[in-house]
Assembly symmetry: C2
Amino acid sequence: MFLRFVIRKTAITIGKRNMSMEAKFEPLFKKIDELKPRFIDRLAKAIEIPAVSSDESLRPAVVKKAHYIADELKKLGFTDIQMKELGTQPPPVNDPNLQLPPVILSRYGTDANKKTILIYGHYDVQPAALEDGWDTDPFKLVIDEQKQLMRGRGVTDDSGPLKGWLNVVEAHRELGFDLPVNLVTCFEGMEESGSVGLDTLIAEEADKYFKDVDTVCISDNYWLGTKKPVLTYGLRGCNYYQVTIEGPGADLHSGIFGGAIAEPMVDLVQVLSSLVDSKGKILIDGVMDMVAPVTEKEKELYEKIDFSLDEMNAASGSETCLYKNKSDILMHRWRFPSLSIHGVEGAFSAQGAKTVIPAKVTGKFSIRTVPDMNSDKLDKLVIEHCQKAFSALGSPNKCKAELIHNGDYWISDPFNASFTAAAQATKTVYGVEPDFTREGGSIPITLTFEKELKTNCMLLPMGRGDDGAHSINEKLDLSNYFGGMKTMAAYLHYYAAAEGK
Amino acid sequence: MFLRFVIRKTAITIGKRNMSMEAKFEPLFKKIDELKPRFIDRLAKAIEIPAVSSDESLRPAVVKKAHYIADELKKLGFTDIQMKELGTQPPPVNDPNLQLPPVILSRYGTDANKKTILIYGHYDVQPAALEDGWDTDPFKLVIDEQKQLMRGRGVTDDSGPLKGWLNVVEAHRELGFDLPVNLVTCFEGMEESGSVGLDTLIAEEADKYFKDVDTVCISDNYWLGTKKPVLTYGLRGCNYYQVTIEGPGADLHSGIFGGAIAEPMVDLVQVLSSLVDSKGKILIDGVMDMVAPVTEKEKELYEKIDFSLDEMNAASGSETCLYKNKSDILMHRWRFPSLSIHGVEGAFSAQGAKTVIPAKVTGKFSIRTVPDMNSDKLDKLVIEHCQKAFSALGSPNKCKAELIHNGDYWISDPFNASFTAAAQATKTVYGVEPDFTREGGSIPITLTFEKELKTNCMLLPMGRGDDGAHSINEKLDLSNYFGGMKTMAAYLHYYAAAEGK
């Protein structure tokens, strides 16, 4: 086995010619197109394994998929393949001995003269079933020839992009081209279930497996719309709170007690109504003061982005957008904080009518955070606000406001070497400058990589905004699969050639 | 069989002596005490049948209990026993052919010179299981000798009171005393599940089986506290509403859309917060204007009632009462309207954190109604208020407020012949004047009887306020079972002797 790798590596070295970088792109892109049947087949085999991380009964399938990928890595000449075990899954679980799926670490190249890129991806998927409304079996890759797209659970999130990196390596090997950078993989199997255990692993491997990493590239998000490629340089954080109001010792009958008892639910709606207004304005004193002001230069960024109110309405399935112009919409999704009220625990929540006075109710809300909000200060402002709003009611009930979890926002420099290389790659492949976008959601692992590896991250999406990542009929357009791979390939070369990281 | 009844009836007639009414009470009460083993056994046999009307799988047990009671009625000389079938149970049901349990109609006496009392009771019970926290098997009557009480599901609600009427008849028969009134029974098996089908039956039988009924006596409520007998002359009504706010086409991710979309849940808490304040004050214009003013005479009624803030706190398991003095507490439970917010359908309601923007949320609330509120006018005020409160938000979402169901309040004349007779009976048995109470809850069947039979109703409770009717360890004190039967017996005689109805 070792011999075989040596031989192959030699073959690659032999195949290394003194071509200019751009000259390599034509044969590379041609090769990627040529290998289409193989690349689709590689993805199809992955899709057939129902690697749903949230379903305990499917854990063996998740592990099986990990081994499928590891075998592919081996065949492609990746070395030092380690299936990192993360131990048993913490509660709540049905099976207390349930093992977490492994994180696949591997290397392609160990040349100290080359830069090293960590590529992150995940091989687990969201649940899916025909009964949910899929047109085809979600765990069978189906090609819609008319629409020129592939359908199946995981095609865009995140098996397509993950396989994309493997395919890029294969295209280089087939051509006898040397890879211009070293790759390190970090492929996890719990992303759809909170990336349990990954933070610890990254911290542990920061000075070991990951010690030479220069930059991190994550392909696990999407274009903003359907036409224009994007590079993503920012994510909002999320501080999730709950406010609990407790009154009687047990739920009471509203006929017998209504009118004479202080009702926790009545207090709760008063407190919740003090948080945000129907225009989306956060009413908690001091929160907006922490938000970085919008600069003129930043304003221009939004104006250039390919997006419209119609796309927003199509995405929400309604005409309930709070803003009419593109810049306002994007800024309120990406660079301003928002406060959402998610629901109430402990109150009547079923269909029909129940004449209960709930004894203890917990309102859930969260704030999406942005630069330069301080998470601790935000917690303090929110909790004090809730206590003050409750005190003003003069209720004999008890109130407790608390943080459930938080994750910081992330913002990168979209003009660093990695982003610049990816922008050049995008221009080369798609013929347009990518839009530089931020996203409203959170990918906490981005921050972990930056913090632990003391490096930067870039989000390089492959799929489109309408891929239906967590929905039914998840798809990936063939043009995005192949365009995405070409962009990845060109990115490696531009990044290798760039000054700095 | 017919012959046997004739002979027995003759025996009763023979036993009829020209005794004064009061003179009969001593032997009657003595006989009731003497028959203690038999009366407890009759109740024990009933408790052993798990007649849970809300559990479809236990429907055969409900029917079995109906037949047990019918057999007892037959043995005691009741005639014209009819098991009235009500057809299949309407949805939602698992078994579309599920038959409703029968209503037991029967007569004791058909003397045109006597008054006729309809006695209402129900033989079905609330669900119960040892696992809920019962100290003993809920479907086995257990006597706590130390506390002198009986425990078991249904002892106080409503098998004890129902059997009480049968026992009263038996005591008369044993003594050879003629019953001073005719009785008509209306014993149903769906009371704990909304009395399905009973309204129709009462309407159908109003001019038939029930045509000679002079008054209706319902023993299906409780003393206010634990020491003083009460007679109940009023109930609040209940108008139950929902307000639905609808926005996006589907639930959205708060990271991706938060800040740019009008959130239905944000609008909903604003609308709900406009309904009532934390002091229990209804904020809907015009509602309080419909409430009958408190008279000085009425005020005195509340002051006399045996009740305290401590009892209120014990009942709610907290110190969250909105009022400190007895009269205020009772008036706000009985004679003022109240508005309770029960919960929200469609929002996140589980434990933990979910970053969802619910697309469609429905707030549930109800108003307990009192004299002289007009139900239709109330609906109009409530719906207009919700629409106005929503309009003020300027939200692009859609809002709909609607009534789900309503039931009128009930108020009777506590000085009519029936109440006066029951008050005399209470004084005779317990040595105290009963408190005249109202209740905050609703018993819709009370109104149906009054309307369809064009007569009056009285609520004559047997058990105490702490019996735990719908809770674990349901109990009935032996003194209440036997005191209650004696009160029932004396009531029949006082009512027979009274002028008017």
